[in-house]
């Protein structure tokens, strides 16, 4: 099956205004990202703040133009599509859904808007009612204004609205981060149902590792604008993983009274600035295993297991025994 989303060599460089107008500093938010996504698949994107995961999402929905590389949806470059074509393929779901709702429009009119834009005015009243029902919102909510509904309702509404152009990919950028746990579970359930019913693919950008693990089939880990590891959700953080992935997972707080305090792989120091990223491997300044080669050469992708790709000089291709990465696992 051909991939629905195909991202190759995607980079985004922002030119910053600095003290010297003749030499603008460059911030590399996304660097040489490759990824594919099949219909109906969910890819989680994790990483700390400023790692470029939101920029990646904005590049994919077409908010930003790439500095290099391409984003293809259903085999066509996003940059060559019209607004309406793009809207029928990809829709974003954002962290603050209420901000996406015009405060002056009634809920019913907001839901009908995508239909009007795409020239499907006929029977729009029925489709609005269906859309409300599909996200389990009461039909009488259509007469309300956005400030008269709760945060959870607003997120359901945003999802219902984004689904009306029948997109094949949803890009959820921290879509659940502003909701409390009960509502989060509710929306997770909703997203899963949508995916099952419509075979919608999802790019799920979040800093919440547990949520990502819960929702995703595969996970991509980003560090300083690069994907350092991508693979099936059950292989992320295992012995073959990138040192950064293991540190990230080790840093996540966990409630488990039966587990003894074990030594966790934590990181020293700060994330380097994306304005002057370190040469070689982006992670070399903080990596406990870094060798000389890491400071010179950008590590190539290494396939360490089924579907699992790690960008690390120390990673051993699948099938070999005792990869040196095991040293960090604390065996």
């Amino acid at each position: 099956m051909p991939p629905l989303l195909d991202v190759t060599g995607l980079s985004k460089v922002f030119r910053l205004r600095g003290p010297n107008p003749f030499h603008r500093r460059r911030l590399t938010a996304v660097a040489a990202v490759d990824l594919v996504l099949a219909p109906g698949e969910t890819l989680g994107v994790v990483g700390e703040s400023g790692c470029g995961k939101s920029t990646l999402g904005r590049l994919i929905v077409g908010d930003l133009a790439p500095s290099a590389g391409t984003v293809r949806l259903a085999r066509r470059p996003v940059s060559a599509m019209t607004r309406k074509e793009r809207a029928r393929l990809v829709q974003p779901i954002v962290q603050d859904p209420r901000a996406t709702l015009d405060p002056r429009w009634r809920i019913g009119a907001l839901l009908a808007e995508p239909l009007v834009i795409h020239g499907q005015r006929n029977g729009s009243a029925d489709r609005v009612r269906e859309a409300l029902a599909s996200v389990r919102l009461p039909p009488d909510i259509a007469d309300r204004l956005p400030h008269q509904i709760s945060g959870g309702q607003a997120q359901r509404l945003a999802i219902a609205r984004a689904l009306l152009p029948e997109p094949r990919l949803l890009v959820c950028d921290e879509a659940l981060s502003a909701l409390d746990a009960a509502v989060q579970a509710d929306i997770v359930h909703l997203l899963r149902r949508v995916q099952a019913e419509r075979d919608t693919a999802m790019l799920f950008i979040s800093h919440d590792l547990d949520l990502v693990r819960h929702l995703s089939h595969r996970v991509a880990v980003m560090y300083l604008g690069r994907i350092v590891e991508i693979g099936p959700v059950d292989r992320i953080g295992t012995r073959q993983s990138h040192p950064y992935t293991r540190a990230l997972i080790g840093a996540a707080p966990r409630i488990d009274p039966h587990r003894r305090r074990t030594k966790r792989a934590t990181l020293e120091g700060e994330t380097p600035s994306p304005i002057d990223p370190p040469p070689g491997c982006a992670f070399q300044t903080r990596c406990p295993l870094a060798i000389d080669r890491c400071r010179i050469q950008v590590p190539p992708p290494v396939r360490v297991g089924p579907g699992q790709i790690v960008h690390c000089h120390l990673a051993e291709p699948a099938g070999r025994d005792h990869p040196p990465l095991h040293r960090l696992a604390g065996d």
């Binding site: 929905v61 908010d63 607004r83 309406k84 793009r86 809207a87 029928r88 829709q91 974003p92 901000a99 996406t100 709702l101 015009d102 405060p103 002056r104 429009w105 808007e113 995508p114 834009i117 795409h118 007469d143 309300r144 204004l145 400030h147 008269q148 509904i149 709760s150 945060g151 309702q153 945003a158 609205r161 984004a162 009306l164 152009p165």
Partner: protein, 285 residues
């Protein structure tokens, strides 16, 4: 969460000052609309035998309730015709300025680059020049017809709308509902007209209510200087100018139009403040 705020409960009561302001503006509008039926230029024939008669209550008679001017013309008839002229010029002028400014501001925000820079430079030029000098130059060069006069008055204050419209369009485009409409496939026209404009209308209306009295005063000043409304037409500004000479002997010639202008300015401001609060949906109950 208490999201279940009921939308019943009716509207908040309108403050009596606003009611009064509306009543006054309504009266002015009515007078302006019916001016042709109530008073005709024939009522303005001079009668030197009855010049400088005081208004009712100050020794005047019912023949001339607001007294007469230095040429013996009936003040009431003059005021009625002047209100029509002044309101018309100020209203059309304000609307020209608002539409022009808002359009340019929104176009600047959407285009960016050279167009944006050019519009913003014009805004700065306009804001840094005393407008009355510009108006004087334009009228002196191109004559003093009513049409040109209205256009000149209309150019007054457009830069305020342009600044506000540009800033708010840029802000609204960046995040929230405008971006959402774009994601759903809506174009700049739909976003500007259906979403951004209604949301910035409140601010624009407030600007309009600040600008309206200033536009009236501009008309007044230019007419006062003899460059505005030309005799035999009459405006509140011309009346004020005429009355200046007689301020000590026949105060009513200047005071009557002066009071009308001041009250109109005050009423518009009061109404504007109230409208701004009403137009904000987040304050709606």
């Amino acid at each position: 969460m208490s999201a279940e705020t009921s939308s019943g409960d009716g509207r908040a009561s309108v403050p009596w000052l606003v009611v009064l302001a509306c009543a006054y503006l309504g009266l002015l509008a009515l007078v302006a609309a019916l001016a042709g039926a109530i008073a005709t230029p024939d009522d303005l024939t001079s009668d030197l035998r009855s010049r400088l008669l005081p208004p009712l209550g100050f020794g005047g008679t019912w023949a001339h309730p607001l007294g007469t001017d230095e040429l013996g013309r009936d003040m009431l008839a003059r005021v009625i015709l002047s209100v029509r002229t002044s309101l018309f010029v100020a209203l059309v002028g304000t609307i020209i300025g608002a539409v022009l400014g808002t359009t340019l501001g929104m176009v600047a925000a959407w285009s960016g680059g050279f167009v944006d820079d050019a519009v913003m430079m014009l805004v700065d030029v306009q804001a840094s020049l005393p407008f009355i000098i510009l108006a004087l130059a334009a009228i002196a060069l191109m004559g003093s017809g009513l049409g040109l006069f209205i256009v000149v008055v209309g150019l007054f204050g457009w830069e305020r709308y342009a600044r506000i419209a540009r800033g708010m369009t840029l802000a609204a485009r960046e995040d929230g509902y405008a971006a959402a409409t774009a994601h759903l496939g809506g174009g700049p026209w739909r976003i500007s007209v259906q979403h951004i404009l209604p949301n910035i209308l409140g601010t624009l209306v407030v600007t309009l209510t600040i600008n309206f009295p200033e536009t009236m005063l501009l008309e007044t000043s230019l007419s006062f200087l003899g460059l505005g409304i030309q005799p035999p037409n009459t405006s509140l500004g011309t009346m004020l100018g005429d009355g200046r000479t007689y301020l000590l002997t026949a105060w009513w010639i200047a005071v009557v139009p002066g009071v009308i202008i001041s009250l109109a300015a005050l009423s518009t401001s009061l109404l504007g403040d109230w409208l701004r609060d009403r137009l904000d949906p987040n304050l709606r109950r």
